[in-house]
């Protein structure tokens, strides 16, 4: 694998404006394939906005203007001919609060492949089974697949959301503070799950918990006021940060 191929996502000179606010300022970032990259920084630093650029979720908001390029593999996802539906199949997203649709567990997972045109019953059955197995939820829900997903605990619902994302066979999984609504044990489960996912997927996580970034990520990106201050391997960043602002933030002297 040559140097270029070990990066899955390459962000080039990305600027995002919301009305007259300059929210993301000249972002350049390479994200490694099959690894976990954590975006950290204080509230309002633009880390979630940056994450949402990667699957173009900012498109639906009025008054947002984006300049710059993001490459997924070799394709510029902001090119004019990008099929957003297909992009979102390749780049899945898990949100802050677990959002299980008020449907059955089965239907929740099946909703993702259905969007992309899978309707064959057996194929769907297989996707649901394998997705739930991969997130470690299968044993708990196998006998109640057709019961409402809303009866699951929050942690289980978040696992279900990950299963739903996996079900459309993405290449990248974006997680936007996936544990902030969860208890410590569920958080641990999700972190273990991320570790497993990183074997097959490129994982990008936004987190406000520095411990989580330190525990669970391979690379860390520290952002402040819409700029990337520092990025690098998580171990190095937390032991010997190069920038004093990074050091202040990770030691808690910043806020």
């Amino acid at each position: 694998m040559d140097q270029k191929d070990c990066y899955k996502i390459r962000i080039e000179d990305l600027n995002l404006y919301f009305a007259t606010n300059h929210v993301l300022k000249g972002i350049n970032l390479d994200i490694r394939k099959n690894s976990i990259t954590a975006l950290i920084g204080p509230s309002g630093c633009g880390k979630s906005t940056l994450l949402r650029c990667i699957n173009r979720m900012n498109d639906v908001i009025d008054e947002v203007r984006i300049v710059g390029r993001i490459f997924l593999g070799h394709e510029d996802i902001y090119a004019d001919d990008t099929d957003v539906t297909h992009l979102r199949k390749r780049v899945g997203m898990v949100f802050q609060r677990p959002v299980a649709f008020p449907l059955s567990i089965y239907e929740n997972v099946a909703s993702a492949p259905r969007v992309h045109g899978v309707s064959h019953k057996e194929t769907l059955d297989n996707i649901v089974t394998s997705s739930l197995t991969k997130v470690g939820l299968w044993d708990e829900v196998a006998d109640k697949l057709h019961k409402s997903a809303l009866n699951l605990s929050l942690g289980q619902q978040q696992q279900l959301c990950v299963a739903r994302v996996i079900a459309s066979e993405p290449e990248v999984i974006l997680l936007d503070e996936p544990c902030s609504a969860l208890d410590p044990i569920s958080t641990m489960k999700i972190e273990e799950l991320m570790r497993q996912l990183a074997e097959n997927y490129t994982v990008v996580i936004v987190t406000h918990s520095m411990q989580q970034a330190a525990r669970a990520s391979d690379c860390t990106v520290f952002m402040l006021s819409g700029e990337i201050i520092e990025s690098g391997p998580t171990g190095e960043m937390f032991t010997s940060p190069r920038d004093s602002r990074t050091e202040n933030y990770i030691t808690g002297r910043f806020r």
């Binding site: 979720m57 539906t85 997203m93 949100f95 449907l103 993702a112 969007v115 994302v165 459309s168």
Partner: protein, 274 residues
């Protein structure tokens, strides 16, 4: 503080009790008056001597037919209008006008709809006094209710659902059909049931448009008589007060049956998780 709390609780209990009492009294009164005449032959036979004797079978058929058709016409139109208003438009002048229009329409007395139906469907469209005229008029009458309640039900669907659905790659229409409408279904169903209740008990709009024929309608262009119209005529023209009460009782039972069935169906669907 504790005393006040207790007094307020007592007050509310009394008020609630009063509400239930009124309801029980009305239904009980009609049951007592109507139950003696309620036999199987009353349900299954055609009326004789203008309804003095015989049964009310044609009126039951007319009621079910008219209400059913009205709902089948109005429900899809109403729900799709609500989808358009909530999912496909921003807050511009168009949805505001539509919303204002539906609100105003919902407040119009039914006899105005009757008059409109008579002039437009019966005379202008030359449909005559018929099942079709009646059903179209009723559908226009219940449309605002369906639009309003569906719109509220759809608005109550959390935006997070839409966001997740878009993030999965869904188009707006896929989001509507696979996430928004299933989530809003209980609310929409309640609205449709309200509309059914309004349509089934309607007298003024129906008497103007479907007429009051006592015969079983053979085609959609035949005149028919619904249960409320039937007991209105029985009571008004002094034909048979006993039969009027029995007819009223049948109407109440019919509404009850429809409601129970609808909620049973809804619960089964909900338990399936969809």
């Amino acid at each position: 503080m504790k005393m006040t709390d207790r007094r307020i609780t007592l007050l509310f209990t009394c008020i609630t009790g009063l509400t239930i009492l009124i309801l029980v009294f009305i239904i009980g009164f009609i049951m007592v008056k109507g139950l003696p005449g309620l036999t199987l032959s009353f349900l299954l036979e055609s009326p004789k001597e203008m309804g003095r004797t015989g049964g009310i079978f044609p009126a039951i058929v007319g009621t079910v037919l008219l209400t059913g058709m009205a709902v089948v016409i109005a429900a899809p139109v109403g729900v799709l209008t609500a989808v358009y208003l909530t999912e496909y438009t921003r807050d511009t002048w168009l949805p505001k006008i539509v919303r204002f229009g539906t609100e105003s329409l919902a407040g119009i007395p039914s006899i105005i709809f009757g008059l409109f139906g008579f002039l437009f469907f019966v005379i202008y469209m030359d449909l005559g006094w018929s099942v079709l005229s009646g059903a179209l008029t009723l559908s226009a009458m219940i449309l605002p209710t369906i639009v309003r309640t569906s719109e509220e039900a759809i608005r109550a669907v959390p935006d997070a659902y839409r966001e997740v659905s878009f993030a999965l790659g869904s188009t707006r229409w896929q989001t509507v059909t696979s996430v928004v409408l299933p989530s809003a279904k209980p609310g929409i169903m309640t609205g449709v049931m309200l509309a059914v209740g309004r349509a089934i008990g309607e007298t003024a709009a129906v008497i103007f448009t479907a007429g009051s024929s006592l015969r079983l309608p053979g085609t959609l262009l035949d005149s028919t008589r619904t249960l409320p119209v039937h007991f209105y005529i029985l009571a008004r023209e002094g034909i048979s007060l006993e039969n009027a009460y029995s007819t009223a009782l049948v109407l109440i039972l019919l509404i009850l049956v429809i409601n129970i069935t609808a909620y049973a169906v809804m619960n089964r669907l909900a338990n399936k998780g969809r």
